[in-house]
């Protein structure tokens, strides 16, 4: 009886509609920037909550232009994709070797990688920049103000979490399959890429999702290294946009809507993986 009452409550369209309405109120800030980005200034200050009377793209065109949005988008995509490919390849390789050779040295390396996850970025940002400038001056490898330099740093900062997640998963996979493949004459390289790496797919998804959320949105590290306009990522060009111009809120809101679009597309296209990945990453971290 009790469960029946509950079920009918849960299926009541009115209650469902009310809950969805409450969630829409929760997302009110997004509604606010969306509607006002289409309005003229006069219309906006008349009533900020009202829907726009007509859809004017004027502010979008200006915002895209001032933010140099297409170039920032390209930079963000390149930086995120390449960093993550390298993080996945290098951390899975390292984690597998460390997990499968349980000597003292491997345990030491693993311990160091995990322990340094505690270090907040703010603690090493200044010495890191000094070191990168030093490398630029003395070894003539430009590390600051270049996207490859930034990717290099992301690989270093992503190492701890990547190895940690892969290590945990590999330790739970029985070794017998790998031993069988070795007896069949598989080389270590082939063994890893043909047998082990495919098994690691769930962890690979988790690492990708967590690193996309982190690298795509990261502001502090690129704000320290990227100086020239052509190298800006989306968070940097958004911050510059808000810092540089006396703010016209219509343009600013249009700019914000545009920056959310890639995130929304990413979320809609792999929602299942994102929720799973975030849960797995949080529980293990």
């Amino acid at each position: 009886m009790n469960t029946k009452v509950k079920k009918s409550k849960a299926e009541n369209p009115l209650i469902n509609a009310l809950v969805i309405l409450a969630c829409c109120c929760y997302l009110f800030p997004i509604y606010l920037i969306l509607t006002n980005s289409f309005k003229s200034r006069a219309e906006m200050y008349e009533n900020m909550m009202a829907l726009p009377s007509k859809l004017s793209m004027k502010y979008y065109i200006r915002a895209l232009d001032k933010m140099n949005f297409m170039i920032s988008l390209r930079n963000s995509v390149i930086m995120t994709v390449f960093s993550i490919v390298m993080i996945v390849v290098l951390t899975s390789m390292t984690a597998w070797v460390l997990a499968r050779s349980a000597d003292r040295w491997s345990r030491f390396l693993f311990g160091v990688l995990v322990a340094t996850m505690l270090i907040p970025f703010q603690t090493i940002m200044m010495p890191l920049m000094q070191e990168m400038n030093w490398i630029g001056q003395n070894l003539h490898i430009q590390m600051t103000d270049t996207l490859p330099g930034l990717m290099f740093m992301y690989i270093g900062f992503g190492a701890g979490m990547g190895v940690f997640l892969y290590h945990g998963f590999i330790s739970s996979v029985p070794i017998s399959l790998e031993e069988a493949a070795t007896i069949d004459g598989c080389s270590t390289w082939g063994l890893f890429w043909k047998i082990v790496f495919p098994i690691l797919k769930p962890t690979t998804m988790t690492v990708i999702i967590l690193d996309v959320i982190w690298i795509w949105n990261d502001y502090l590290l690129p704000s320290l290294t990227l100086k020239s306009k052509m190298n800006r990522t989306i968070p940097i060009s958004t911050a510059k946009f808000f810092g540089q111009y006396t703010i016209s809120w219509n343009e600013a809101m249009a700019a914000l809507v545009v920056t959310i679009i890639p995130v929304a597309l990413f979320y809609l296209s792999c929602q299942k993986y994102i929720v799973k990945g975030v849960a797995a990453g949080a529980v293990k971290g």
């Binding site: 509950k6 849960a10 299926e11 209650i15 469902n16 809950v19 969805i20 969630c23 929760y26 997302l27 800030p29 997004i30 606010l32 200050y45 009533n47 900020m48 290098l90 951390t91 390789m93 390292t94 070797v97 499968r100 050779s101 390396l109 160091v112 990688l113 505690l118 270090i119 907040p120 603690t123 090493i124 940002m125 200044m126 010495p127 890191l128 000094q130 070191e131 740093m153 690989i155 190492a159 701890g160 190895v163 270590t188 890893f192 949105n217 502001y219 502090l220 968070p235 911050a239 808000f242 809120w249 600013a252 914000l256 995130v263 929304a264 979320y267 929720v275 975030v278 849960a279 949080a282």
Partner: protein
Amino acid sequence: MKIRKGWYALFTVPLMSIFVIVVIIPFIIGIGYSFVEWDGFAKHAATFVGLRNYAEVFRDQRFINAALRTTVFTAIAVLSVNFFGLVFSLIVTTKLKARNIVRTMLFVPYLIGGLILGYIWKSVFSEFFLSIGWGNWLTDPVKALAAMIIVTTWQLAGYVMIVYITGLMAIPDDVIEAAEVDGASYFQTLFQIRFPLLMPSFTICLFLALSNCFKVYDVNISLTGAGPSYQSEMFSLNIYNEIFEQSNFGYGQAKAIIFFLIIAVVTLLQVRATKKREVSL
């Protein structure tokens, strides 16, 4: 299975060398920087001052205020993030038909980065609040702090909700049903069965919220920009400003080391508490 030395090196050396360059070396030279006085110019020599930078921290009123403010902010934000996250997870794990849409909507803010979120809310707290006659919250120090807490809660509640959902789903239905048959009310099952079984999730979520809130930077920069007159400046931003705005590289780095020590101690205490609880369960 034995992996030969050559393969071992090939698999680990690339990552480990990048890691050493990016994390280990800066960490070690960072400790060195904290004992010198230096203005950041390569031509100007750094002078060794021993522990003076660390002693000076206690006389720096702006820093002490930022540290205390961050502690208060963290305490309140951790509670509100977890309260809302837990309530959301309870709504989403009912038999409600709209639960998937609801979960999707509540999780969205977490995916938008802190910087962009701060700017979105800036339009709410300044322009929108002015337009409805509530005044600009960001020009008042107390309201600016409240705004920071609201935005952080909005950002992280959906995140911890995901962890709580995982925890709630792991509780077997028959336990709850048995209690209901025995006449337990909804709140009795909630407080006496679900919450105790949810302890591991509480520990994880408290930790996640704690470290995220204590390190807050992006929202601080974009929402309040430390204003009005540094009265909403948090720990991270204070370190940044000391080093890159005031050019006190050595002194700022000492603050950064203190920041690390606080986070390390709190995290280790947290891990120990988790371990203890795991044994007792």
